[in-house]
């Protein structure tokens, strides 16, 4: 049996959920960024699977995936710049201790 659309979508859901769990529970800001990258990788799998099984010639899903990769690269660059700037000022990247905007 060749893996169908459902198998790829379940794999995508599992990877997305693992990333979501890490993004909620981790305290280090870098690890939260890593988990968001994992979530985006899971979404990309779903996009490419839709492109393969629903529009195999038009490749609509793959073009969305290109934009996801571009925005993820931009997001990780700015996010790490913010983390490094925070580390310079407060000497920690623990999100429990970065409470400048906490009410």
């Amino acid at each position: 049996m060749v893996p169908g659309l459902e198998q790829y979508l379940i794999l995508s859901a599992i990877i997305f959920s693992i990333g979501l769990f890490g993004a909620i529970t981790k305290r280090s800001a870098v690890v939260i960024l890593i988990c968001i990258e994992i979530m985006l990788a899971g979404v990309n799998i779903a996009m490419v699977a839709f492109s393969r099984f629903i529009t195999p010639v038009e490749l609509t899903g793959q073009s969305f995936s290109v934009f996801v990769i571009v925005v993820a690269a931009a997001e990780v660059a700015v996010g790490l710049a913010i983390i490094l700037a925070l580390y310079r000022q407060r000497h920690t990247i623990d999100t429990d201790k970065i409470d400048l905007l906490k009410w």
């Binding site: 981790k26 305290r27 393969r52 099984f53 195999p56 490749l59």
Partner: protein
């Protein structure tokens, strides 16, 4: 048959690596497991006959993003402290379990308009026509370039020594 074996091996590698990132206390090992997860994702793209995206995934995510993350882990010296979890472990576990169950339920309840056509190979020229052709996503590509420029300027401004 070969496709099926490749799919199961790669998906097991991706899921185990992603779980390892969450499980692992050592930040540096977590970043290396992220590389494994990205490589497995690129392999899954190959099984979906998306050759251009697999190459882009290896070049951008494995090459650039992972190096950036590893460098920032080194620069913030957080390796010694590890990656502790906060107090939300149990509620977060149930929340993500519900999310995953909802997605999988929706996947099985939806009747997908499957197309039995063979995939376009190689995808690079078809993708280029789609993205840069006459009525394609040309404006969005330009906005992507603008976004990357803004990202570069933003990162430089954020990390400039203000003296």
């Amino acid at each position: 048959m070969g496709l099926q074996i490749a799919f199961w091996i790669l998906s097991a590698a991706a899921v185990i690596a992603a779980a390892g990132v969450v499980w692992q206390r050592n930040l540096f090992r977590a970043a290396l497991l992220l590389v494994v997860c990205f490589l497995a994702t690129a392999g899954i793209f190959v099984t979906l006959s998306a050759d251009f995206l697999a190459a882009a995934q290896v070049i951008i995510n494995v090459g650039a993003v992972a190096i950036l993350i590893i460098m920032s882990i080194m620069l913030t010296r957080e390796v010694t402290r590890g990656s502790p979890a906060n107090r939300l472990g149990v509620p977060a576990f149930f929340l993500t379990g519900i999310v995953a169950a909802a997605i999988i339920f929706a996947v099985f309840k939806t009747s997908w308009p499957l197309s039995g056509g063979l995939p376009a190979e190689p995808t690079s020229s078809a993708l280029a026509h789609l993205l840069l052709g006459g009525e394609g996503f040309e404006l969005v590509i330009q906005m992507g370039a603008l976004l990357l420029l803004a990202t570069i300027i933003g990162a430089i401004v954020l990390l400039k020594e203000n003296k």
